[in-house]
């Protein structure tokens, strides 16, 4: 396992709609490390995640990845008419991986034949997390991962995050709820 960081953000600033959300933010995540971004609504948690994902250009500063990244945010990005297993399979094929481990980790295997549009809020969240688990990407970017999850879902999320870190992955999560991320660095916005 190399010690090269999986995510490095240097002096990152974010200006959105004329408001400076944060500036001079330094963050580096080595394998096994995790960081939890906290802050009130509108503080820029989601913008920070999108900047880390490369979806949003930082107003200043630099972002680099040590490997691939997987993102779970509010966008489900699963075709509504497809059965869940096929919809997740589409992304697994792009990731050259298998959707099944993710579905097992989030207890979705029995829902494999159910069309995505029939799923509940919590089940959709589980599906988005299952895609991240299955992706095999070393860096996980999770925007409000516990939103809509029940107690079992939160336990499974914590288990998946612990397993990912034990396997040398890194996690950047943004949440206003408490997340079970032992000795994660705190980033308060």
């Amino acid at each position: 396992m190399s010690a090269a960081p999986l995510l490095r953000m240097e002096r990152v600033a974010c200006l959105r709609g004329g408001r400076l959300l944060f500036e001079a933010l330094d963050l580096s995540l080595a394998p096994g490390e995790a960081a939890l971004v906290t802050g009130p609504n509108g503080a820029g948690k989601s913008s920070l995640i999108r900047i880390a994902a490369g979806l949003l250009r930082p107003t200043s500063g630099a972002v680099s990845h040590g490997g691939g990244a997987a993102l779970a945010d509010e966008g489900l990005a699963l075709d509504a008419k497809l059965p869940l297993a096929h919809a997740l399979g589409f992304w697994a094929k792009l990731d050259r991986s298998d959707a099944l481990p993710g579905m097992e980790a989030m207890d979705l295997v029995r829902l494999g034949e159910v069309p995505v549009r029939m799923l509940s809020t919590g089940q959709r969240k589980r599906a988005a997390l299952a895609r991240v688990v299955a992706s095999g990407a070393p860096l996980w970017l999770l925007d409000e991962p516990a939103n809509g999850l029940d107690a079992d879902g939160e336990r499974r999320l914590a288990g998946a995050m612990a397993a990912h870190r034990a396997a040398g992955g890194a996690i950047l999560a943004a949440s206003h709820q408490p997340l079970d991320l032992p000795d994660a660095r705190r980033v308060a916005l």
Partner: protein
């Protein structure tokens, strides 16, 4: 790329965006004789132009289904996180959209020609014109769809953006369905269509990138 293309074709087939332009096109072909009267020589003279107008307007119909659902659902974000170039995404959408738009419209033209009692040689010129012109129309639809994704009043704005850009295709396409002089019009139609299809992946790709901020 193959997975993206297959997904586009599946979405077009199940989401109704393949069927809608064809039904619209046939409706116009049905209504046109009611408007100008069932005079066969008049229909033969004006029918080609009318069908080209119908094809142009039919091309506008899928504009809100092509990019916006993928943007809203986060599909474009997920592709970008995986390092998929926006140009490849746009190219897959272009090919997938043409396959679900061009050939069905050409099939519908046979029925439309029968409804309007158009002569056989005119039908042949229409089909060749559509074969050359529909890639350009599909490209325009994609560019406009990518530009307007995320806006609220897509429908009206898309028409205003797209119809002026489609003028060359309409002019040369309609000219091709006139008697004589078909060869030069055919070449210019193909050239205009090819140009649009060639710039579409880059223009739409840039629009997708810009739309993320």
């Amino acid at each position: 790329m193959t997975a993206l293309l297959l997904r586009e074709l599946r979405l077009a087939a199940t989401g109704g965006s393949a069927l809608l332009p064809v039904i619209f096109f046939l409706l116009v072909a049905t209504l046109f004789p009611f408007a100008v009267g069932p005079d066969a020589p008049l229909l033969a003279r004006t029918g080609g132009g009318a069908l080209w107008m119908a094809a142009l307007l039919a091309a506008l119909l899928p504009v809100d289904r092509l990019v916006e659902p993928d943007r809203a659902a986060g599909v474009l974000d997920q592709l970008a996180v995986r390092g998929m170039p926006e140009e490849i995404v746009a190219l897959a959408k272009l090919v997938g959209h043409w396959l679900s738009f061009g050939p069905p419209l050409m099939l519908a033209t046979i029925a439309a020609a029968a409804l309007m009692k158009l002569p056989g040689d005119l039908l042949l010129r229409l089909e060749l014109g559509l074969l050359a012109g529909t890639p350009g129309l599909a490209a325009l639809t994609l560019i406009v769809a990518a530009l307007t994704a995320g806006l609220r009043t897509t429908g009206a704005l898309a028409g205003l953006l797209m119809l002026p850009l489609a003028v060359p295709i309409l002019i040369f396409g309609a000219a091709m369905s006139e008697q004589g002089g078909a060869m030069g019009a055919a070449k210019l139609l193909a050239a205009a269509s090819l140009l649009l299809a060639a710039i579409a992946p880059f223009a739409a790709g840039a629009a997708l990138r810009a739309g993320r901020d």
